[in-house]
């Protein structure tokens, strides 16, 4: 496989059979269309390329900018495509809640504009909501924006009608599957593939998956939001079902751990929704099997993108998946009594001690707070870093007395208790912290 451009690597993704031992369906072959293997990482590569391709050369000549309302994958593909053609890219969205994707887009040179939240005090007369402003700016005469308009652009659907759909038929030896299951974001992939499959066999049944209303699954819309999409037509789908975030993550873990498919949450939602849809069908087929002999069906779902970008999303919902082994010398090991009886010293005595005993004063606050105001002569070791250091042992000699300071004397008490337990003979926590120090009128400096 030798290409002249990375864009030639878009499409022709594998169709992989899911092991029946994993999904438990006995009369249905379930296949995953691995869109995560597109070069920029998702199913959106196809649509982005198909929408932008005809206009890129012209836009490049005018020094323009590609703009799209996108929260992730389309933006990622467009940012790369724009860069390859000497253009800049801007994404406008209120849905980008995944920090890794935001960072990746910035890394790719994208500009991101986030739409503001809803007004707390309702003003029914507002006419200048940012989305309206965005569209107004696009249509201003002389503007050099290339707006790919993925929610309304028929070339989005077309990319899947001419690419994704026919590829599935080809890989099923010229047959359309009995079932096709896909998540609904822009509706481009589900609509395009459904159209291609039905052209082949009008009996294909299509299930659309939306996010449950109270849940957030990145890339999938809720049923209400789907109605805002120009490409969405409820008539495309035989059923529209909702999937919850927890279910999507469960499905994702199954694909990740048992199938070796490093799918993201939407792939997980599609797998979960597919199995839920197909299980009763499978049981019917089993009954008929007993009476009339075997009949097999096939089903295809789309794996839109990869797991790596969603680690913080998953961590927030399933912290249990990230349990780390316990470390030595951690403040978490201390008993309440140990913390309560940790050696401490009040502001007035601490001032005297600093003057005579020359303790090492360690300020546990952030460098920004430390830089703003601190006790003269203190050193700054942020508590998180300090904790790391302690896992390895005492970071200073036992012969040097130590005074620990934090904002209110709570963290410093924990650390003083820990250092004492680790064998330091003369460590104390500043009672009431830097706040008590300030309130007592003791000097703070910035140097």
């Amino acid at each position: 496989m030798r290409y002249d451009s990375i864009t030639e690597a878009i499409g022709n993704t594998p169709l992989v059979r899911i092991d029946p031992a994993v999904h438990g369906l006995r009369h249905i072959d379930l296949y995953a269309k691995l869109e995560l293997l597109n070069p920029f990482g998702s199913v959106k590569d196809r649509a982005a390329w198909n929408m932008a391709r005809p206009h890129l050369a012209a836009a490049a000549g005018e020094g323009g900018q590609v703009v799209e309302l996108s929260s992730g994958n389309t933006a990622k593909a467009l940012a790369v495509l724009a860069g390859m053609h000497g253009l800049t890219f801007k994404s406008v969205t209120n849905r980008m809640r995944i920090p890794e994707i935001k960072d990746l887009l910035l890394l790719l040179g994208a500009e991101i504009e986030e739409l503001p939240g809803q007004s707390e005090c309702l003003d029914p007369t507002v006419t200048d909501d940012p989305l309206t402003q965005f569209h107004r700016a696009l249509s201003e005469p002389g503007s050099t924006f290339l707006h790919t308009d993925q929610y309304f652009n028929p070339r989005n659907t077309e990319a899947h009608f001419t690419g994704t759909g026919p590829e599935i038929v080809k890989d099923l030896d010229g047959r359309a599957p009995d079932w096709f299951i896909a998540c609904v974001g822009t509706a481009g992939s589900s609509t395009g593939v459904a159209r291609a499959l039905r052209e082949h066999d009008p009996a294909v049944r299509v299930a659309g998956l939306v996010a449950a209303k109270s849940d957030f699954i990145p890339g999938i819309r809720t049923i209400d939001e789907a109605h805002e999409v120009g490409l969405f037509d409820p008539g495309t789908y035989d059923t529209i079902e909702a999937v919850g975030a927890d279910e999507a993550i469960e499905g994702m873990l199954t694909l990740n751990r048992r199938c070796g498919i490093l799918a993201g949450p939407t792939g997980g939602a599609a797998y979960f929704g597919a199995v839920r849809q197909l299980r009763p069908i499978d049981e019917e087929l089993a009954e008929r099997d007993d009476e009339e002999g075997a009949e097999r069906q096939s089903a295809v779902f789309i794996v839109c993108d990869r797991v790596e970008s969603y680690l913080s999303y998953v961590r927030q919902r399933r912290p249990d998946l990230f349990g780390r082994p316990r470390r030595r010398n951690s403040p978490a090991d201390l008993s309440d009594a140990e913390v309560r009886t940790a050696p401490a010293i009040g502001v007035a005595d601490a001032q005297k001690w600093i003057a005579t005993g020359e303790p090492l004063v360690v300020d546990l606050r952030s460098p920004y707070a430390y830089a703003a105001l601190h006790i003269d002569g203190s050193v700054n070791i942020v508590d998180e870093l300090f904790e790391e250091l302690l896992h390895g042992g005492l970071p200073f000699s036992r012969s040097r007395p130590v005074l620990l300071a934090c904002p209110v004397g709570e963290k410093s008490a924990r650390h003083a208790a820990l250092l004492t337990r680790m064998g330091h003979p003369d460590v104390r926590s500043l009672t009431g912290g830097v706040i008590a120090w300030r309130d007592a009128g003791a000097p703070l400096v910035r140097d």
Binding site: E120, L122, L131, S214, Y368, P407, I435
Partner: protein, 496 residues
């Protein structure tokens, strides 16, 4: 209408629920004082304050909670709050006078909002802290202080137009506050007027439900305070305004079902859910939904003190990623908040009497006319969708009078006001009620104390404006007095 009734039942916590469980008292009150009638629950305000305080406590933050007076004009509420350790945020001369008269000492008052010279003078005269919107306001204040030999005034600078690094957060433009881009000349003016004005901190109030925008603003304030310190000024507080919101509805499922059905009604795939097919900002263009839903997010699991908690836990990306609370604490700053709506959660209700119940087309919604106008229960004005609670006048003998089984089945109604105006609808929503109301019944609109109770009520139409009573519990019994008669001593002293 077809289908299941789409109820939007109000969230009722124990105190408000307990009051609604004594309909006899509520009927007596409206008979004596007329419909509409507002009831406020001062003790609830004190409880809500404690919730905010406990969020401060869990983050070890000091600073003041200033109740935003504009959200309700009640004297009882203000006086009850004066008996706690909270502050009050006043936005007019009248509110300042009210706060001083209710017992708030100047150290517990901040003056915000647009100010006329009288307001500014009284604020400076009494030494309340003034949150300044613009450089012009600072100049005006400095001139007043000099000319009238007033004491040196504590000031906050209210800022706007914060931008995040990396990602540009488009913020709703605010009329209020000075753009941070104009900081330099503003701080120069502060330095120039150092003899008459003492900078205690910076402030913002953003009208948004978005945590990210507020986090961006708070982070921006921290950077501005650092700039102030590097100039030798000694600020020590950030005031993050209000807007923490209320969760109005009992059940998320009802809200989700209702809003989905509303979009379908707008798209024409189910019968309308509003008077005249009103779409609350949504419309259908060739089968695609356009516009934005102009409704308050009535079911908001994260509201009030919990919202503050989440904001404080938000990482400050440009300052090393530690949470905002840790940043405030480590920088030794006080946190000030100005909750209005959120502090009034569960603090009151509006009672309205049913005047007439009329059948329209068969099977269509009933027309229910109330002894109140839209401005008295300004749910619609604020986009809050919530069912009223029906309090029958005669809870036992109703079916005999109404005949057969009417009054037992859910009904759909349109709620009209008592003005001779086509537009006087209490709500444009088609409301589902668990049973048919009868003339003489009361419809109680719960949780209206924040803005919905009297913000839009006027006397212009020669209709009575709602009177207001304060109610509190003594043992198992509910006691009440006129709003104006309430003092924190009343419950124990017995002014009755």
């Amino acid at each position: 209408m077809g289908g299941q009734p789409l109820f939007l039942e109000p969230r009722l916590e124990s105190r408000l629920r307990s009051l609604l469980n004594v309909p006899g008292l509520l009927h007596t009150l409206t008979e004596a004082l007329g419909s509409p009638l507002n009831v406020v629950l001062p003790d609830q305000l004190a409880d809500n304050l404690q919730q905010f305080r406990s969020v401060y406590g869990s983050h070890h933050l000091s600073g003041q909670v200033y109740f935003a007076h504009k959200a309700n004009r009640s004297s009882a509420l203000l006086r009850r709050l004066a008996a706690t350790d909270a502050g009050v945020d006043v936005a007019s001369l009248g509110e300042l006078q009210h706060a001083l008269g209710a017992g708030f000492t100047p150290g517990r008052i901040t003056a915000t909002g647009p100010k006329n010279p009288e307001f500014l003078w009284l604020a400076a005269r009494t030494s309340v802290t003034v949150s300044l919107d613009t450089r012009g306001e600072l100049e005006q204040l400095a001139t007043l202080v000099r000319k009238h030999a007033l004491p040196r005034t504590r000031i906050l600078l209210r800022l706007s137009g914060f931008e995040a690094s990396g990602v540009r957060v488009l913020s709703r433009r605010s009329r209020f506050g000075t753009d941070v881009g104009e900081l330099e000349p503003l701080l120069e003016a502060v330095e120039r007027h150092g003899d008459v004005a003492d900078l205690v901190g910076v402030a913002y109030h953003l009208d948004t439900t978005s945590l990210t925008e507020k986090a961006t603003a708070l982070e921006g304030c921290l950077r501005v305070l650092e700039e102030c310190r590097s100039r030798g000024l000694r600020p020590r507080a950030v005031d993050i305004g209000g807007g923490f919101g209320i969760n109005y509805l009992a059940d998320a499922g009802q809200w989700n079902r209702y809003t989905t059905q509303l979009t379908e009604a707008v798209l024409g795939t189910r019968p309308p859910l509003t008077y005249g097919g009103h779409g609350y900002g949504l419309r259908s263009e060739a089968g695609t939904l356009r516009g934005t839903l102009g409704l308050y997010p009535a079911h908001r699991p994260v509201a009030g003190a919990r919202y503050l908690d989440e904001l404080l836990a938000h990482p400050a990306a440009s300052l090393g990623g530690r949470p905002l609370a840790a940043q405030l604490l480590e920088h030794l700053y006080d946190l000030h908040t100005e909750p209005g709506r959120a502090l009034l959660d569960q603090c009151g209700l509006t009672l309205t009497r049913v005047l007439e119940v009329r059948d329209q087309e068969t099977g269509g919604p009933l027309a229910v006319r109330l002894a109140a106008k839209a401005g008295d229960v300004a749910l619609e004005e604020h986009g809050v969708l919530m069912d009223p609670v029906v309090l029958p006048r005669d809870p036992t003998g109703r079916t005999a009078a109404a005949g057969a089984d009417t009054g037992r089945e859910p009904v759909t109604v349109h709620l009209f006001g008592n003005l001779c105006l086509e537009s006087d609808l209490i709500t444009r929503r088609t409301v589902f009620l668990p049973r048919r109301p009868e003339p003489g019944d009361l419809l109680a609109f719960a949780n209206t104390a924040g803005y919905c109770m009297d913000f839009h009520a006027t006397r212009a139409q020669h209709q009575p404006v709602a009177r207001k009573v304060a109610a509190w519990q003594e043992g198992d019994a509910w006691r009440w007095c006129l709003d104006d008669q309430y003092w924190p001593t009343t419950p124990v002293g017995g002014a009755q």
